[in-house]
Amino acid sequence: MAEVKRKSGKPLQVNPHKLSQPMGATMAFLGVDRCMPLMHGAQGCASFAKVMFTRHFCEPIALQTTAVNDVIAVLDGGDYSIVESIKNIHGKLTPELIGLHTTGLTETKGDDIRGIAGKIDVPLVYVNTPDFKGGLESGWTLTTQALIDQLTEPGDRIDAQKMVLVPHVSLLPIEVEKLRELIESFGFTVVAVPDLSSSLDNHLGEKQASLSSGGVTVAELRQLADAAFVVTVGGSVKPVGATLQAKNPAIRHRHFNHVSGLEGTDALVAWLLEVSGREAPPAAVERWRKRLQDAMLDSHFSIGQTRFLLAAEPDHLAAMAASLREVGGQITLAIATVDSPILAEIDADQVIVGDLEDAENMSESYDLIIGNYHTESLAHRVGKKAVMRGIPNYEEVGSALKNDVLYEGSAYFLFEIANAAERMREAQVHHAREQIKRQGSGVRRAPD
């Protein structure tokens, strides 16, 4: 494993791919059915997030703001703006839950949202997510913990067939659905927390959504404590296991850093066989494993000669790196948005916490880029190609339905990357030949 450079040493971020902690909180609340995420900050805090998610998911995004202005910033401790917001939201809508999350502004002025939440008589979950700490992953995790901590009723009874699935923030809606289906195919019932698979999965809803339209229900959140297992996927959500166990110590916790590639999926399937007591998985699972094996062999030649820059959230980096490493992909540079213990486990030449300026300065070290929308222009500048993954992705439609995980998705992922690498090399070869042609004709024309 590579040495991890955890501090950039720079006084600023240039071309950042890091996203803020309140944005992660918003996303988590969008995975709760009929929820109104309420960002406690200036109107722009919510607006920036809303515009980004709307463009990324190509869907209307439910998100409101307490619209803190200069007077409120000085005089109000949060009571007025939060209570007033909830009154105004309930004037038009009947959300099942208000998802109150803070920002740098309201944390700096020191609002006591816990105290205020105690005085409010509608269903509400609050979470402190200043944007001068953490990032997208921590906002998502803190919110998931808050949902469980504040809503789930303690218990001591266990339903042996019930599992709670906690995905990390970079798992896409369709990937959460595929994970759930796999676990269910072993005879379990699964509740994903949060669950973007039915809210932001690019489905045509019944009407224009003012609240989140899909996700885990508040009733389900209240009843989580009878699960036999809590399964966390991604280093960032590992602490959620203990949060749920605090509600019922009989719940068993199983953690996976990722569920990508052959080994990653094998680990999950092996565990599912063990806990379900079954001898063999469903036939479709077996079939997809064979297809992935074939995909690995078909793609290894292309991917094995490619040097990659991966730029993503830490858990997403770990997952993609694992898939690519299995077929010889050389991860010469992995750039994480924020620091995370999982970075030490990524098999790459260099792992740094940084920005896309760092990527630009190290462009000699890689051929193909995998990262968010902003890596597209990076690719143009440094003469490489980029494959879009992560948030935001403004240029492509259908990103909620990209599946890179388990046997099936890993096969798609390898094909897409191998094809992109080949096209990139073909373009380079073409370019080189054109150069030779031009030089050749120049030489021939010279004597005239």
Partner: protein
């Protein structure tokens, strides 16, 4: 002296139509019922098009994370396009506790030595505004150290909405840049384009026409703009506000300080583009120029009308409902009318009194001005028999339910519909929408539905 503008003054703009009836401020946000960006957002929109200047957000990632490299404001600047380069100090806990001034100064140094900008705009945000970082002092010191203007922009989000941020940006440029440099030469036909952001290249749809007439664009605020040019803006003969009421304060102050008169125009659609060109010529007050402008307008309109002939048949008898905000309520309507589409209703929910009056004037007495389009537009479509809905993405479902064609009016964020040639692009997009079977088909009953 602090460079912080007086917010009250900016909110109560004497040259603003609606302030005649003693309204206190343009908008105080309602908690839990507010949409739209903050002052910082507005300031970014106003200034980011200066591609030869660095734009440094002194704040956490929320203030830039979703916003950089999202503005399609192209530039002809041959250096690195700094509009599309994100800079943020990424304030951490440490900076909140101990102050972020040293970090900010070091960030400016990093930018100057690595990107050689013509200026650095430093945007304050809510957190450093609360913790009290002295951005003015840092900027002043760095201006002296590096010999390029470091301009503080005091637009923390909590001071207000986008509109106010745009004014604050204007104020910063007025205070720190305009009048700090003399142009190499002047002409009697020098103008500034104020509020033209060159979104999707709209400026380039008509700038060549101005040049053909001998009208020189001395500077723009800020589309395809140059810092060196905006510094000379005080020598222009005329300020032209392009579809941006929020910058009236700026032009009024330039009139007071430098005696530059101002007019307001739109370059959206054929009628408005022609009217805009003529208004500029008339304001410059040269008989020969006016004559030549009329000739150019006649030539361009004839050319465009010929090119639009194939579309006439497609649009004949077609009715449209328009649901968009602000001046677009009438400027897009005008473009649609140029294409022979009848605009039967438009939204005036977010429009100023002046915009409402204009919408009425453009659409005629029988048209419906919707004050609450979200609830009204379905009914309006039924009543008017409209064939086309132009609106933001949220209204798509209404069109599908009513089985009429839909055009996302925010497509203009990707393609330019401005000027004469933009109308052809709009015509092509609308034709494609009207002829696309998807709106009729997508909501058909599933095989298992009765």
């Amino acid at each position: 002296m602090s460079s912080k503008p007086k917010i009250k003054e900016l909110l109560v703009e004497s040259a603003c139509e609606h302030n005649k009836d003693k309204k206190k401020s343009c908008n105080a946000p309602t908690p839990g019922a507010t949409t739209g960006g903050c002052a910082l957002d507005g300031a970014q929109i106003a200034l980011f098009p200066f591609a030869d200047a660095a734009h440094l957000i002194h704040g956490p990632m929320s203030c830039i994370g979703g916003a950089w490299e999202t503005r399609l404001t192209p530039t002809s600047w041959s250096g690195r396009d700094l509009t599309q380069t994100g800079f943020a100090t990424d304030i951490t806990n440490n900076d909140v506790v101990f102050g972020g001034e040293r970090k900010l100064a070091a960030a400016i140094d990093h930018i100057v030595s690595n990107y050689a900008p013509e200026a650095v705009f430093v945007y304050s945000t809510c957190v450093p505004a609360l913790t009290g970082d002295d951005i003015d002092a840092v900027c002043k010191h760095r201006t002296e150290k590096h010999g390029i203007p470091c301009v503080p922009v005091h637009a923390p989000g909590f001071v207000g909405a986008k509109n106010l941020g745009s004014r604050i940006a204007g104020e910063a440029v007025l205070q720190h840049l305009i009048g700090t440099k003399e142009p190499e030469h002047t002409t009697p036909f020098d103008i500034n384009l104020i509020g033209e952001h060159n979104n999707t290249g709209e400026l380039w749809r008509y700038r060549h026409l101005l040049e053909e007439l001998g009208i020189r664009v001395l500077s723009t605020f800020s589309g395809d703009g140059r810092i060196a040019e905006i510094r000379t803006a005080h020598r222009a003969r005329l300020n032209v506000i392009v579809c941006a009421k929020s910058l009236v304060s700026m032009t009024r102050k330039m009139q007071e300080r430098y005696g530059i008169p101002w007019i307001s125009c739109s370059f959206y659609g054929m009628t408005d583009t022609s009217a805009g060109l003529l208004a500029i010529a008339e304001a410059l007050g040269n008989a020969d120029l006016i004559e030549r402008t009329r000739a150019l307008i006649a030539r361009e309109e004839a050319r465009l009308k010929a090119q639009l002939i194939p579309y006439r048949e497609v649009f004949a008898g077609k009715k449209a409902v328009l649901n968009t905000g602000g001046n677009k309520a009438w400027s897009i309507a005008s473009a649609l009318q140029d294409l022979g589409i009848e605009v039967v209703a438009t939204s005036v929910r977010k429009s100023t009194e002046e915009d409402k009056a204009k919408a009425r004037q453009y659409l005629g007495e029988t048209a419906i001005l919707m004050t609450n389009p979200a609830t009204q537009q379905a009914k309006v479509i039924d009543e008017t028999g409209a064939h086309l809905l132009l609106a933001g993405g949220r209204s798509l479902y209404t069109a599908i339910k009513k089985r009429i064609a839909f055009t996302d009016v925010n497509q203009e964020k990707k393609k330019s519909y401005g000027g004469y040639d933009g109308l052809l692009v709009l015509a092509e997009d609308l034709k494609n929408s009207l002829q696309n079977p998807v709106f009729e088909l997508v909501d058909r009953k599933a095989p298992w539905q009765k």
